[in-house]
């Protein structure tokens, strides 16, 4: 080591070359390692944020730099607080812009997608229906429907960014069921949500319920509900029993094959 130190001290060019060589060799070694690591991150859903030029235009230079500099979450949170304030002022247009930016910054944050969709499909749509500035009911309905679709689109994009999680599929299914009355599509989404190992047990039941409302799939739904019924007491919830009873009648299931469902086990509104 001393001869190395001595050479370094007496020959500055040698020292400079050694430093440059070390930096460049280390650089050359680590480049493939880093690009492999980057690929592994992307496969694990990291680094999915869309930090492109259009985002930069929307959130400004400082925000963009902060986002790049490792403070993406802080920028997203700051924008989210802005959205919250805009919500209190019912500025839906501004909110939507922010929702798009926030989800671009933090595409792996389920809450942003979920709540953005909720704001548009449930809150904005309700406001649209009651918007006295728009006199014609037909126009109000149109705006309301547009808001439903915006919510749906947000959830679909969220699902595309988070294919490994069930939550947004459940939210999408709920939106399809409650707002768009598309029971067939809702059934598909509930079923997909149910495939995840950490999904709650009610997903598969809800899928069956929605399927039972989907024209042309009554038989399929009936078989599924029967399977669930046969799984035991835990599954024999009022709604399931109600749908089962209804399908038994509409499908003309022979009496011998029907399950006896007493009235007191059905939900109150039945």
């Amino acid at each position: 080591m001393y001869s190395l130190e001595k050479s370094f001290r007496s020959h500055p060019w040698f020292r400079f070359s050694a430093v440059a060589a070390l930096v460049l060799i280390f650089g050359a070694i680590r480049l493939p390692i880093e690009s492999r690591l980057n690929a592994e991150y992307r496969a694990a859903f990291f680094h999915g944020a869309q930090l492109n030029l259009s985002l930069r235009q929307q959130i400004g230079q400082t925000g963009f730099l902060a986002a790049l500099g490792g403070f993406r979450a802080a920028v997203a949170d700051y924008l989210w607080i802005q959205a919250h304030i805009d919500w209190t002022r019912t500025e839906w247009g501004k909110m939507l812009l922010i929702f798009n930016n926030v989800t671009a910054l933090q595409p792996r944050n389920l809450m942003f997608w979920d709540m953005s969709a909720w704001h548009m499909a449930y809150n904005a749509s309700a406001f649209a229906m009651q918007d006295t500035r728009v006199p014609r009911m037909a126009l109000r309905l149109k705006h309301q429907h547009e808001d439903f679709l915006i919510g749906k689109d947000l959830l679909e994009r969220g699902i595309a960014n988070n294919p490994d999680r069930y939550k947004l599929r459940e939210s999408l299914a709920t939106l399809l069921r409650d707002k768009l009355q598309d029971h067939c599509a809702a059934a598909v989404q509930f079923a997909k949500a149910a495939e995840f190992p950490d999904a709650p047990t009610y997903e598969i039941r809800f899928a069956a319920y929605e399927l039972s409302w989907c024209p042309g799939h009554e038989r399929e739904a009936y078989n599924e509900l029967l399977r669930l019924y046969n799984m035991g007491e835990k599954e024999r919830l009022p709604t399931l029993l109600s749908r089962l009873k209804s399908l038994q009648e509409s499908l003309n299931i022979p009496q011998s094959q029907r399950i006896n469902i007493p009235e007191n086990q059905l939900p109150p509104h039945h």
Partner: protein, 280 residues
């Protein structure tokens, strides 16, 4: 084995972006024997500090070698035997006196009870026991010199390199340091001393070397150097005036006892100025 051996030492500093260079030390050779107190003198810019730094391994020579007790200066081992007192107190001001000695002791490989014992001993030696727990930022110049001396001695070195040890110190403190150096000499510790206070150097050094513009212009035993060549001093006891006249002619024909025959001395200061001015 010599304590310090400097052979053909040259140090050149290139000036960036210019073709000229500064030659700080030019072909310097000198030896310091063990147990000597050696004074290295020279005006500002003469290469004293550079030489000292090279001996201590802080700077690399452009040519030549320096050795401490046979070991090359650039080897870290050579510094096991060296204690250095810098010109200004280059210590951490946020440490207390005690902590400073502990720190340097640990760097020298001393630990535990041995370290505690050694720091206590040194604080007593330099008279800083009362100020051991005060931060160096609150020390006076004299106190800083003393703690500097203590840290230089922490690993019981065989060689001490002292750069202006009494600069800025009051006469009493100065005298104390001078006495300490003489005490070191008695204990066989070699001392390399750089100083501008020529009267002090005259009091304690055995040998001196004078550097001027990087060149060793004079070197040797102090007594020899500052003697005036063409004069002889005779001290006579019981001499009569008649005898004085006779002595002039025939030295041996007298009843007087020659007690000492010494060359009269000019002051070191005069000699130094004469030598360096003639080189302009």
């Amino acid at each position: 084995m010599t304590a310090i051996s400097i052979q053909n030492l040259t140090k050149v500093y290139p000036i960036p972006f210019r073709r000229e260079r500064i030659i700080a030390v030019r072909n310097l050779s000198l030896d310091v024997e063990p147990g000597q107190v050696y004074g290295l003198l020279g005006p500002n810019g003469s290469g004293k500090s550079t030489t000292m730094k090279i001996v201590l391994g802080l700077v690399s020579p452009s040519a030549g070698t320096t050795r401490i007790f046979g070991r090359d200066s650039h080897e870290v081992e050579s510094r096991e035997e060296v204690g250095f007192l810098p010109e200004n107190p280059y210590f951490y001001k946020f440490l207390t006196g005690q902590e400073t000695l502990d720190f340097y002791g640990k760097i020298c490989g001393i630990r535990g009870a041995k370290l505690r014992e050694r720091t206590a001993e040194l604080l007593a030696l330099v008279g800083l026991e009362q100020a051991r727990d005060r931060r160096l930022a609150g020390y006076s110049k004299g106190m800083l010199q003393r703690i500097g001396l203590a840290q230089a001695l922490i690993q019981q070195p065989r060689l001490l390199v002292l750069d202006e040890p009494t600069a800025g110190v009051d006469p009493a403190g100065s005298r104390e340091i001078r006495d300490l150096i003489l005490d070191f000499k008695k204990r066989g510790i070699t001392v390399l001393l750089c100083s501008h206070l020529l009267s002090q150097v005259q009091e304690i050094c055995d040998r001196i070397g004078i550097l001027h513009k990087g060149v060793l212009v004079r070197e040797g035993r102090l007594e020899d150097l500052i003697s005036i060549e063409n004069q002889t001093e005779i001290i006579l006891e019981n001499a009569t005036p008649e005898l004085l006249a006779q002595v002039n002619a025939l030295l041996t024909n007298s009843g007087a006892r020659i007690l000492a025959e010494r060359k009269p001395q000019t002051t070191l200061e005069d000699f130094f100025l004469e030598v360096t001015s003639s080189k302009n």
